[in-house]
């Protein structure tokens, strides 16, 4: 029990990093506290919004049975699905990717205690999701029956609910996510491409198929199926023998799965550490390149080898490509919508609206906001090389432009030919999005150099959750969105020339911001 408590404490410090507040450097500690406070505030606001909405929905149901069949049980299915998916994606990582697991194995600690300590936190996570979804409807349900014993029984069922999804998520996550991921780790960028393909597939589904789904019909079909199943085999929130059977079944299956995970834990940890050597590795040549080219190639290799970096920065490009594909397939439909928008805002030249769409979408693709922080511990080595910061920043900026400019060109030419833009409109369709992309790229570089974070342990943090990442995306959308809005609002009658002037302004702003980079180069 003592060892288990020590391991829980270790996991707690590892996950929440409270030592940074208690014992870290003052600057680091302040930064961490402010991030933590922001997360707590945002979480609190979201929680209030969620609970108040779910409470309102609960009030719509007049009978207990209705509440159970039409809200609680669908939410149970949703909770099980979310818990399973989150542990499938992340749970196996929490369990198997502890960098200091070798040290733990060397201590006189039973492997099952290590496993239990890690599973405990995953269980708490699953329980938090389950409670977030079910606590309000469940309280309303129990208040309707006024039976304390049944309430306790239902609560126990809720406590058992995340167990099987978590364990299945971990086991399947290890097999499909970690082992296959390991297979693709042999440096070929297949993993990034695979993620990208999945992401494009998902976005294409959302773009082309999602709005055709009849959710009302789907909901009714699920409820009918669930009610039908419940009538024949229903055990959830039942208060008789079925409840005991359910508890026993979960206990038994859960116990077997935990035993399996404990038994195979050591071998699986080891297997993940040992990388398979690539068979018949492609023979590489030593070839001289210029310094700038080699720095750019380095940036590209790192970018495409980091799936999370690719996924988070490709959104704009993917949306733009999908929009172009949609316009190609349903040009009339898109033209109708754009004409309506043009009529609302009094824009006579509706081709400009396409230019604005391209400009807005490309803002969502920006590789520079994490490109300084991503150097991390490589910073010292880079500083020891005869490479100036200017050359390094240029390579990072070039990567950003290399990804966005060709896409802008392709989509502009396609949209231009579909909607028969004249040469001035087509030139604007190239000029404005390129200058916007150039501006947001330099903005990301500036903000990352202003607020770098080189002490990250997981690249996900700097790509998704760091202050430069969030502020760059937010500021880019705000600046570009509001400037386009100003054009629509105040210059709708001479929008073509005004858009060209805006493009020139973005070019000037880009140059101004790049001059400011020199002042903050000390941060590297």
């Amino acid at each position: 029990m003592k060892t288990f408590r020590l391991l829980i404490k270790r996991e707690f410090f590892q996950i929440f990093k409270f030592n940074k507040i208690l014992h870290g450097e003052r600057k680091e500690s302040k930064k961490y506290i402010s991030v933590l406070c922001t997360v707590i505030v945002v979480f609190f606001i979201f929680a209030v919004y969620w609970f108040s909405n779910i409470y309102q929905i609960c009030l719509e149901f007049q009978s207990q049975q209705e509440l159970l069949n039409y809200l609680i049980k669908p939410l149970v299915i949703l909770a099980v699905f979310i818990v399973f998916l989150s542990t499938f994606m992340k749970g196996s990582g929490v369990l198997y990717s502890d960098k200091s697991i070798d040290i733990l194995f060397a201590y006189p600690i039973k492997v099952r205690n290590i496993v239990f300590a890690k599973l405990f936190f995953l269980y708490l996570w699953g329980l938090a999701i389950t409670f977030a979804l079910l606590i309000v409807p469940l309280i309303r349900y129990e208040l309707m029956s006024y039976n304390i014993l049944f309430a306790i029984l239902d609560l126990v069922q809720i406590l058992f609910l995340p167990v099987i999804p978590i364990l299945l998520g971990i086991i399947l996550g290890y097999v499909l996510y970690r082992q296959l991921g390991n297979f693709f780790q042999s440096g070929s960028y297949i993993r990034s491409i695979l993620y990208l393909v999945l992401f494009i597939g998902f976005m294409a589904f959302m773009f082309f198929v999602f709005n055709k789904i009849d959710f009302d019909f789907l909901y009714r079909a699920i409820i009918e199926k669930e009610v039908d199943w419940n009538n024949n085999y229903g055990i959830f929130f039942s208060h008789g023998l079925e409840a005991i059977i359910l508890a026993f079944a979960i206990f038994l299956v859960g116990g077997l799965l935990v035993a399996y995970i404990s038994k195979t834990y050591k071998s699986k940890c080891f297997r993940l550490q040992v990388f398979n050597k690539r068979k018949n590795a492609k023979k590489q040549l030593l070839k001289k390149s210029t310094k700038s080219r080699t720095l750019l190639i380095r940036e590209m290799r790192r970018y495409f080898s980091t799936p999370i970096y690719v996924l988070n920065t490709m959104l704009g490009i993917i949306l733009l490509l999908l929009f172009t594909a949609y316009s190609f397939l349903k040009s009339d439909s898109v033209l109708n919508y754009v004409t309506i928008i043009g009529n609302i805002f009094g824009i006579t030249n509706i081709s400009v609206i396409f230019v604005f769409v391209v400009s807005l979408l490309i803002v969502l693709s920006n590789t520079t906001y994490a490109s300084i922080s991503i150097e991390g511990k490589h910073r010292d080595i880079l500083k020891s090389l005869p490479v100036s910061l200017k050359e390094l920043l240029l390579a990072k900026y070039q990567l950003h432009l290399l990804l966005t400019v060709p896409i802008i060109c392709i989509t502009s030419f396609v949209l231009g030919s579909i909607y028969q833009m004249n040469s001035i409109e087509l030139t604007l369709c190239l000029f404005l999005p390129i200058t916007v992309s150039a501006f947001v790229g330099i903005l990301g570089l500036f903000l990352n150099l202003l607020l770098p974070n080189y002490e990250w342990e997981n690249v996900t943090y700097i790509v998704k959750q760091s202050i430069p990442a969030i502020s760059t995306v937010f500021l880019s959308i705000l600046i570009v969105g509001s400037s386009l809005w100003c054009l629509i609002r105040f210059f709708n009658h001479s929008i073509l020339i005004a858009s060209y002037i805006l493009g020139v302004l973005y070019l000037i702003f880009t140059i101004i911001v790049s001059l400011f980079l020199k002042r903050i180069e000390i941060n590297f």
């Binding site: 440096g187 030593l286 070839k287 001289k288 080699t294 080595i381 490479v387």
Partner: protein, 236 residues
């Protein structure tokens, strides 16, 4: 020739890591830099490459200040840190290619040197593998190959022998001596006093940021060995 003149480095938390340190590493010198943990060895080495800024003093390479012409100086220097932090998404060969491009090494020269060095350090068959699959020792070897590949005038190594197998250990000592014999110089820190004593012609001992002993190995040792000298200087 590397000249460190009155170098002082104070960290933001107020800790004086290096205090008024002056030393010279002449051409042909194999300089061993030793001291306890936290004495200021790594800070001094990093300051020579402008990895850390310093509060006062100057560092000159062949008379050129590292502050005023950092890129010029770095073109003639190479650095291997104590922990090899390499780009794990590259293969060994891609990494070495990258280093050679940075230092503008010709294709012919890099091919010859990389294959020679990788043969000597036992990495010839591993160059096409990803760095992420390398052990600590292999990463150290790749770092060393990258450092020697462009034939630097000054080689700065921070604990270079850590993680090396015996064969690579011996080879590294030979490579360091060959570099010094050809007119270059090597400045390295190490805790392996035996290697420092037998390999270096000059030694510097640092304690609490101050250089307490500096000079020819023979003069410093006298009739004792380095271990006794070091322990005596550190008051034990």
């Amino acid at each position: 020739m590397l000249e460190i003149k009155n170098l002082t480095k104070i960290y933001p938390n107020g800790k004086k890591a290096v205090s008024n340190l002056s030393m010279t590493v002449a051409d042909g010198d194999l300089f061993g830099f030793i001291g306890k943990n936290g004495a200021g060895k790594t800070t001094t080495l990093k300051a020579c490459l402008t990895i850390h800024d310093f509060n006062s003093g100057d560092i000159l390479l062949n008379g050129i200040s590292i502050k005023s012409a950092p890129l010029e100086c770095k073109k003639k220097m190479a650095y291997v840190p104590d922990s090899p932090i390499l780009e794990t998404y590259l293969t060994g060969l891609q990494y070495l290619n990258f280093i050679c491009d940075i230092y503008d090494v010709s294709t012919h020269t890099r091919r010859k040197r990389i294959y020679d060095l990788s043969e000597r350090l036992g990495m010839k068959d591993k160059l096409n593998d990803l760095i992420s699959s390398y052990s600590h020792g292999m990463k150290q070897k790749i770092s060393l190959i990258g450092a020697f590949a462009h034939d630097p005038l000054l080689l700065i190594l921070d604990e270079p022998f850590v993680g090396l197998d015996p064969e690579a250990f011996v080879q590294l000592k030979c490579m360091m001596k060959e570099l010094c014999a050809s007119g270059g110089s090597v400045l390295f820190s190490s805790h392996i006093l035996d290697v420092v004593e037998k390999t270096c012609n000059k030694i510097g001992i640092i304690q609490n940021g101050k250089l307490i002993k500096n000079g020819n190995t023979k003069d410093i040792l006298g009739t004792s060995d380095l271990e006794d000298v070091f322990m005596e200087l550190n008051g034990e």
